[in-house]
């Protein structure tokens, strides 16, 4: 092999390695931008589902780690529905774990009264010193949150993803792992039930 062949052999690889490094850096920046844009909304949705501040932060972090580890290579436009799918799964895991834990505690003699479900009022941010507008928004959402608890989990998911997060039907179907027809049905039913529950907003 001559020098020119050596040169032509080495240059593409060097260029390729540098290009790969730049691609990885760009990807990490894109991921950080995406996560920064979604974290507050994801926290709100998680807290509405779990009714606990620390648990909500935990599931958001878990979902972020899973997305970065497993799906960073997917097209960027898929990140949002994929992230919410992961978040939904984590929330379901937490809820299942809580049910099991309460069942064990209730069964274990002498401990039935020790563990109480988290108080949504206690876990809400301290309103002392908060502007009146902030408090009102919090109270409104708290009311919706209470009403959401009366829905099935699928109805609740469909409503939060479609209405709060603004995912379209196709994206919501990916996040929920169901058909688009199911998303529409769950969402329509959720809106009906919530309207009935929060009656004064109908006027």
């Amino acid at each position: 092999m001559t020098g020119s062949a050596t040169l032509s052999w080495s240059m593409p690889l060097i260029g390729g390695c540098e290009g790969a490094r730049e691609t990885a850096v760009d990807q990490e920046r894109a991921l950080e931008r995406f996560l920064a844009g979604i974290e507050k909304r994801a926290y709100r949705i998680a807290k509405l589902s779990l009714r606990d501040h620390d648990d909500a932060l935990d599931v958001v972090q878990d979902a972020m780690i899973s997305l970065v580890r497993k799906y960073a290579g997917h097209p960027e436009q898929q990140w949002r529905p994929l992230f919410y799918r992961i978040l939904r799964n984590r929330i379901t895991d937490y809820q299942r774990h809580r049910r099991v834990r309460r069942g064990v505690i209730a069964w274990w003699p002498g401990t039935a009264g020790d563990e109480q479900p988290p108080d949504p009022i206690e876990s809400a941010p301290d309103p002392a010193g908060a502007p009146e507008q902030e408090l009102e928004g919090e109270q409104l959402l708290e009311r919706i949150g209470q009403a959401l608890l009366a829905l099935s989990s699928r109805q609740r998911e469909a409503f939060m993803l479609r209405n709060f997060e603004g995912l379209d039907v196709a994206q919501t179907a990916i996040a929920m792992g169901c058909s688009e027809g199911s998303v529409k049905t769950h969402y329509f039913r959720a809106v009906q039930l919530l309207q009935r529950e929060i009656g004064e907003w109908q006027t």
């Binding site: 062949a5 690889l13 970065v68």
Partner: protein, 123 residues
Amino acid sequence: MADMTDHRQDFERKSRQAFEESVAALDGETRSRLARVRQNALAEARRGFRPSLSTWVPIGAAAAATVLAIALWSGGPGPQATEPALAALEEFDIVMAGDDLDMMDEDPAFYAWAVEEITDGVG
């Protein structure tokens, strides 16, 4: 019927607005914790970071292109010399196939080995 639709849309708008206001009104401590959560997630991913498809494809493509360049430069004296180049192109096609994207994300070590095999085959 129109009234019901209006009520539904009004309800949807108000509930969305309440959610947006609650997001905007998140307290400073929660925002800070979320920022830390984000940084933890990115750091965790970096610790176990293996380059994803978007990193390996350029490497695989460069390796396959190199093999082809060498095979063509050498003048292709016979079937034996061109076979590795053709095999490398087939590997390249496999690497580029969209069907295997998920597998590539889950097993980049396999594709690193595959790239190595392509370049070693040129010998």
